[in-house]
């Protein structure tokens, strides 16, 4: 593994990019062939895995960089998806374009990130985890009940029986990206570039999403703000004494973590074309946290690779291949058992995570010998 990494580092950057681009482009056709041979739905699972990677990278900012344990991260995913729903659901007649709506979702999610962050700034560790857990639990029931809103002030009725989220029935259909301009420039007939439910179209849109989130993560990691996040994770009190405004820096961590998941939520909603409160339950938060911890909290490349592997393991191996091999056993119900065992094994044998070492520059992580100590001359 480490030989492979150093080999990869030794090739020039443009060659790395060409190889990565080639892999990205050839994934859909290759998977199409495999799908035809085996009958498994693979590309939709790859898309789902990539969405989870974007979410996990957002959670990695909060948990991995800043060290703030967030157990309700799916709430921001829901906020992103439902904001997109509200902006594009035909019944509400807002009819935002996909490309504008996703950025509104980012802003709304970031705002909620700061809203939940602000009252929890004084909390640490377990206490913070409990508050975020509660926040994650509040959102699905809230969304389920926002289908019949009536606001009265005395006799004045401001809003009556307003259906914002369509409750348990879910919102459907939702807006899709419209490439009308590209079509007219390229001389294609209208609708030819409508992604519809075609997984290959969505694959490329989601790859762009992952690239945005990935490069933002990488840029933050080694910047002034990213260093401050990691300092807070290591020792919050010492960071304050060194001049870091921990309140501001923590709020930014919450805001950026949430905004990543708002963006992913919007794309997810558009891809499915329909959203329901049940899509954003506690299990989603737990699954994302498992990705971050198993892969290696704080390592951007680790979370990327680990997220892909773990989501594929979950969506392809556990959900499709195993049931086809053992048709009479219910392997899926053992899903959490596998993850539980995985977590215990990682904690015992590899506490830095499966891929926690990836992306760390050649930082010496071995103790330095005492003899090397020299005078301050």
């Amino acid at each position: 593994m480490s030989a492979l990494i150093s080999r990869w580092r030794s090739i020039p950057r443009w060659a790395q990019l060409v190889i990565l681009a080639a892999v990205v482009i050839f994934v859909p056709p290759v998977i199409n062939i495999v799908e035809r041979q085996t009958g498994f739905g693979l590309l939709t699972q790859v898309n789902r895995a990539l969405i989870y990677v974007s979410l996990a990278l957002g959670l990695n900012i909060v948990v991995g960089f800043a060290g703030l344990l967030d157990l309700g991260y799916a709430a921001f995913f829901a906020i992103g998806a439902y904001t997109f729903g509200i902006l594009t659901w035909p019944s509400l007649r807002l009819d935002f374009s996909f490309f504008i709506a996703i950025w509104v979702c980012v802003l709304v999610a970031a705002l909620f990130g700061m809203l939940i962050g602000a009252p929890t700034l004084r909390l640490r560790g377990d206490y913070l985890a409990i508050v975020t857990l509660a926040f994650g639990e509040i959102i699905p029931p809230l969304v389920r009940n926002l289908d019949n809103i009536t606001i009265r002030i005395g006799d004045l009725v401001l809003v009556e029986s307003f259906n914002l989220t369509n409750g348990p029935l879910g919102m459907k259909p939702l807006g899709r990206p419209n490439f009308g301009i590209v079509e007219s420039i390229a001389g294609l007939s209208p609708g030819q570039l409508d992604p519809g439910v075609n997984p290959t179209f969505w694959y490329f849109i989601i790859v762009i999403l992952v690239l945005v989130v990935l490069s933002a993560s990488r840029r933050f990691e080694d910047s002034r703000i990213g260093r401050a996040w990691r300092a807070i994770r290591e020792d919050e009190t010492a960071a304050r004494f060194m001049g870091v405004n921990t309140v501001r820096v923590k709020l930014l961590a919450f805001a950026f973590g949430a905004s990543f998941s708002g963006l992913a939520g919007a794309v997810f909603a558009s891809m499915l074309g329909a959203i329901f409160p049940e899509l954003f339950r506690f299990q989603v938060s737990v699954f994302l946290l498992i990705i971050v911890i198993l892969s290696g909290a704080g390592s951007v490349w680790g979370v990327l690779i680990g997220g892909l592997l773990i989501s594929t393991f979950d969506g392809v191996l556990l959900a499709q291949i195993m049931p086809s091999i053992f048709p009479n056993s219910d392997v899926q119900s053992l899903r959490w058992v596998f993850f539980g065992i995985g977590l215990i094994a990682v904690m015992l044998f590899r506490p830095q995570g499966l891929f926690g070492h990836l992306g760390q520059r050649q930082r010496a992580s071995q103790p330095v010998k005492e003899a090397a100590h020299g005078d301050a001359a």
């Binding site: 933050f220 910047s223 703000i225 060194m242 001049g243």
Partner: protein, 261 residues
């Protein structure tokens, strides 16, 4: 001599315990000011008041023309108060250089959106910060250790890295909380010489808590002795050494009688 920091009537009570009791204290500029006293005398509590960790129960603290009592630690850092800790508190998983860069956090300007877009101003500032950080590491004797995770450094170098990190905040006043704790005689000698250099070469004002009497008596310009949160003696090292109240505080009144007899 000019005064950089002046505390007047400062008290700090924790429930029924008075850790610092109506203390008047001033720090002379460009000098090494030491505070000594038996365990529990209130030295570290006073440090924590000066650096903003505690708000004093009563009293005022003036620093460089600002009223600072009760201000948040990160704001005091901006005014020019830097510190190290009694037990080392480095950012363990960050490299030595990154530790120093955190010290620069408050005066580096790059906002998050500039970090995100990698604007030229940010790149220039980062390069400059890294160069300055490497200089500071070389100054404290950590050249060649830039990329080592700080938790993997030997103890003596960790102490020096803490000082480099504090220097990176651009302090006028540097508070050192037992900088030679746990060091062997050779390391202690190096550290003592180094603290002197901080005053002489960088023009720093130093406020020192130290248990090693030899260190205190060798380098201090002014020594203040605390006991039960009160100032019991103050002056030049030689004056304090002769003060019977100090001997009594350290050794007890019976020992004092034995010495007199």
């Amino acid at each position: 001599m000019a005064t950089l920091l002046e505390a007047k009537g400062v008290s700090k009570k924790f429930g029924g315990l008075t850790a610092v009791d109506t203390l008047d204290y001033s720090v002379e500029a460009n000098a090494i000011n030491s505070i000594i006293g038996p365990n529990g005398a209130g030295k570290t509590t006073f440090f924590n008041i000066v650096t903003g960790y505690y708000k004093p129960t009563t009293g005022t603290v003036q620093f460089d023309g600002h009223d600072i009592a009760g201000l948040a630690p990160h704001r005091l850092t901006r005014y020019g108060i830097g510190r190290t800790f009694q037990t080392i508190r480095l950012f363990g998983h960050l490299s030595a250089l990154e530790n120093v860069l955190i010290g620069m956090h408050h005066w580096l300007r790059s906002p998050w959106w500039s970090d995100l877009l990698k604007l030229r101003s940010t790149l220039r500032e980062e390069a400059e910060a890294i160069r300055h950080g490497e200089e500071l590491l070389a100054y404290v004797g950590l050249k060649g250790f830039e990329d080592v995770e700080s938790r993997n450094l030997p103890y003596g170098l960790q102490r020096r890295l803490e000082i480099a990190r504090a220097l990176a905040t651009r302090p006028k006043l540097l508070l050192l909380d037992e900088p030679t704790a746990g060091m062997n005689p050779n390391e202690t000698k190096d550290m003592t010489a180094f603290i002197r250099r901080l005053r002489d070469e960088r023009g720093l004002t130093i406020l020192l808590i130290e248990h090693d009497m030899h260190v205190v008596m060798t380098i201090s310009d002014k020594v203040t002795v605390l006991d039960y949160g009160r100032k019991i003696s103050e002056g030049k090292p030689s004056d304090v050494q002769q003060d019977t109240r100090v001997i009594e505080a350290y050794l007890g009144s019976r020992a004092l009688k034995m010495i007199k007899n």
